[in-house]
Every structure is written in structure tokens, then in C-alpha cells.
Symmetry: C2
Subunit: 325 residues, 2 copies
Amino acid sequence: MKAEHLSQIQAAVAAVKERKTIRRFYFVACGGSQASMMPIQYMFDRETSIPSAIYTSNEFVKATPKVLDDTCVVLTISHSGNTPETVRAAELAKEKGAVSISLTNLVDSPLWKACEYPIHYEHGPEADPNDLSKVILYTLAFDMLNVVEPSEKWVKGAESLNNLAEVTERIKAKYADFGSQWGKDYKRETVIYTMGSGANYGEMYSLAICLFMEMQWIHSNCIHSGEYFHGPFEVTDFDVPFVLVKGIGATRELDERAYNFCSKFSQKLAVIDEAEFDLTGIEPGVQEYVAPLLAGTVVREMIDSLAHERGHALSVRRYMWQMEY
Amino acid sequence: MKAEHLSQIQAAVAAVKERKTIRRFYFVACGGSQASMMPIQYMFDRETSIPSAIYTSNEFVKATPKVLDDTCVVLTISHSGNTPETVRAAELAKEKGAVSISLTNLVDSPLWKACEYPIHYEHGPEADPNDLSKVILYTLAFDMLNVVEPSEKWVKGAESLNNLAEVTERIKAKYADFGSQWGKDYKRETVIYTMGSGANYGEMYSLAICLFMEMQWIHSNCIHSGEYFHGPFEVTDFDVPFVLVKGIGATRELDERAYNFCSKFSQKLAVIDEAEFDLTGIEPGVQEYVAPLLAGTVVREMIDSLAHERGHALSVRRYMWQMEY
């Protein structure tokens, strides 16, 4: 990781450390950025007794939770640094005295200026993998946890992110054929459901709303594996496609149960099983939380193939960035 | 409300009052029962500084949040009283010393026995409207808020629920034709999206997963009005149907923005506007939170008509209660 990124993270974490009392961690963003923090919020819920919550930015701005003051930490993310409601959320957090931390790809963007502790990340194939948003976000999260619930596993966890690029390449190679075939098999589908639980819900939410709905105009819905049996499973049929992640964490049993049922009644269930990932190099104590990033690598292979087979580039939009809304 | 229901609520609220410190309110259930508590969690988030969170039962059981002890209140709901993961959640709460409160339609059910403070509600057309789950749940919620954030509005709010049946009848009559026509117009659809925010998200979640997916086998997804512009809106097209609730609360602006966009690009947007509801009789300070129940009345008119037009009774299931899963 570049020294400037590391020092931006350190400044934010030092500010968290300086607060005598922390009553809340809030994670606030929209769409894919919100999705990227869902596993972080899940991790905080399980690992610290300080309450945390996640919000889509405009709900946080308009229906602000009762507790927002200098005992709070608010983390916002916007890739462009330009999402108005996320900028407003970071500003509001700063106004109320909270530790306002933001991640963005654009230095000096409105988000950069709105918060107190801006952190830059890089993007695209030219970037050093250690400067990508996922590494920056997880390093920040582990470092904050180490302030409020000190443990060697957070230190080792952050260090082990240095190996993430290598682990990612390994998994990418392993699932290249799987992804390529999946795109060929599913290119005619008009509805594809996604399913996951625990730390993986966010990755499946992102697959549904960003990759299928936004980038492929395919109808979708992310079903929580635990909710599947309480309504959604009635849409299951031999020709209804699902993508399910089986996690390696505490909720794996939920995913297994959804798998056992869905595989019986749908002939179109694709499974990403994190138990088959070779996670060597990632600190065992944080593997449950890091695994969704690698499920995301498999998802990327699948969606790249799907987009290619459909002749529908992932970059095409009909509304986003095309007009005022 | 029947005296026995009132005294069950009072026993639960007294237990909450007796705790010196309350660090968390947890709302835990599955499917429609979980959905019914979403507006309650939203209300707690806005009205009390005590943190609250909502979970699907199995996630709460398997990935239990770090804080679960005698400083917590856990509210569970299961209509049958038989949902195994909800029973387990209530049991777990009791084991950990939390105030474990459950709502169910079945006295002496496993859930009834698993918790410490069981509360019965009635169901169906023969029931007194003041003994239905929504009145029982909201009375309990207002009474608990009155313990932790005392205010006349909770007392008046609870009293004004006596008028809910009358308000409901008024709205039912007003929207009968609208609902009936909607069912005729949309009977051929295979995908229908739902949209809402704030206190209405739960009602729209329930419409998507229980009414459309479970009871009509129609593909659906509940999109948060604030998230719509960050991915999902790209599926909007002239022939893609949506049902949107415009709320009367703090997030109405989000719903308005979604409405303004969606109505431009879809010819199949149905709107339930809570600003058009005559809420006379409901305490003004709680109208934002009660309005979703009345949006639910309109939804019921719509879905009854849709089910009739499609010849697909709402009671039909292919998996639920038909087999082990």
C-alpha cells in the first residue's frame, strides 16, 4: 500500500482512538458502495459490543438516527466522490461532531472535502492491488476493530491483505472456466435471483442490483438464505435461475439449507462454495470476512462472460450519468 | 383490546421497565413477521438513543450479535408459534438473560413456551380488530418507547389505535375500485417490483416476498427508494411494473424522487400515496409510523383482485407446509 494511503488510514484510526467514548459506528453509502460495507457491518456486529448500523445515504440524511454526535464514527464511500446524498451524509456527520471518514477514488472531490478524514483508493487494472478499495476498506476496518476490541487477529488480518492479490489470482484461475460456461448457459435469462447470508449478503446484493439490474438490465433480487424459506422459495421452479454463495462463516448452515432445497427444484442453480477456496495466506481469524471478496472474484468471471455472450457491455447505461435525476 | 392481551403486554413492558440498563432492542423473526417489525425498528432508530436492530431469525441464532445479555430486549414473532428458528431465537434470548417477548397467534405453541413474556393476538375476519397482531404489536412498541423515552405521544398513540379499524375501513372503501382495477390491469405480469423507504420499507418487502413471490409466484424485489438510483433504476422500462408507496414521513422526498423518475420511463407504475389517507383519529405524532399499516390495506385490495383475476388463490403453496425443508 502506498505511504499516503497508509497515513490517511492512520489519521482516521487515530481520531477514532482519541474519542473517549464511541457509541456508534455508522456505515453510509449507496448501491455498490453500500454493498461493500455490508460485510464490514456484519463483522462489527459480531466482533464488537459497540453498536453499528448501515444506511443508504439519503435515508441517513433525511431520517437521521437519534444518536449522531461526537461519540459516533461515520464511514462513507463514493467512488466518484460526487454522490450528492453521500456527500451530505459525510458533511452532516462532521457538523454533528462525529469522526467523519470517507473513501473515494477522487482526491479533492466533494466527498473528499465534506468529511474530516478522506482516504483515497485506486481503481482499474493499472492499480497496485494493495491500493484497491477492498484492501483500503478492510485495512481501515481491521484497524478500527483493533482500537475498540484489541486482538492480534486484526493486526495479522491487515497484514495478510498483502496476500489478497495472490489469493485472488489463484481463485480467478480456478473459476475461469466455470464463469465462462455460466455466461454461455445463462445468456437468455431475463430473471436471475441471488442468494447469500452473513458476510456474503452484500456481495450477493451487489450482484443483484449492480451487475444484473444496472449493468445487464436483468431482473433480480437478492434473497437472504435465511429468508428464502419464509416466502421467496415459492418462486423456485425447474427453470428459475439462482446464484448462491455458500459461506464459510457462522451462517453456512443457512446457505446449505437453501442449497439443499433449491438444488432439488431448480435446474439452474449456480453455487459458489467458499469452502473450496484456497485461502492460504489470509489470517484464519478473518477468513470468514474476507471470503466474500473472493466470491466477488468468481462473480466477476461469471458476469464478464454473461456480458460478452449477450453483447451487452457492462459499461452501458440508459439513465445513469445520461441525464439529471 | 381483550383484558388478557392487555395484561400480557403490561407484563412484558413491566419487565422492560425493571431493567436498570437497556443496551439493545432486537427484533427477530422471519418473512412477513420480520417485515411487520421493520417499521418498529425504524421508529426505535429515530425515537430512542438505545440502539436497535432487526434480524432474520436464523442469522440471529447462528451469527448472534456480540451483545446479548440481561441488558437486551428481544422481540420475536411467529404466527403459528412454530417457526423453529424463531423459537430458538426466543429461547436463546431467555437463556442469555434478555427480556424475551414473543407475539403469536397460538397459545401454548413452542414459541409461547420458549420465551418469557408471550403475547397472544387474534387473526381473521371474526377477530375484534383491536386484538389483531398490528394493534398488539404497535401497542407494545409504543408502551416500550414510553418506558425509555417517556412522552405523551406514545400514550395517545396507543389510545388512538382504538380508531385504527375505523380509519382502515375508510381507506379500504376509498381504494376498493383502485385495487380492483389494478388486479385486472396487471394479471398478466410475470415480474412486479415494489418500492418504498423509511417506515414503509417493511410493507413493500412483505408485498414483494410474501404476496407476489410466495402467494402468486410472481418474480419481485423490494427496492429501497433511496437505492433505486444507484443501480436498480436501470431495469426501468415502459413495460416494467412497479408498486411504490409515497410515505408521509421524513423520507418522503426519496419516494418523490423515485416517483418522478419512474413515472417518466415506466407506463406501469402504481402509486399508493399516504398523503391522500384520511388519518383522522390517529395521534399525529405517530401517524408516520402507523401509515404503513394503511398502505397495507390498499395493498390487500390490490392483491385480492390480482389473485382473483389470475385464478391463483392466495392460500395455494407448492412447497410451504407441503413437505419437510
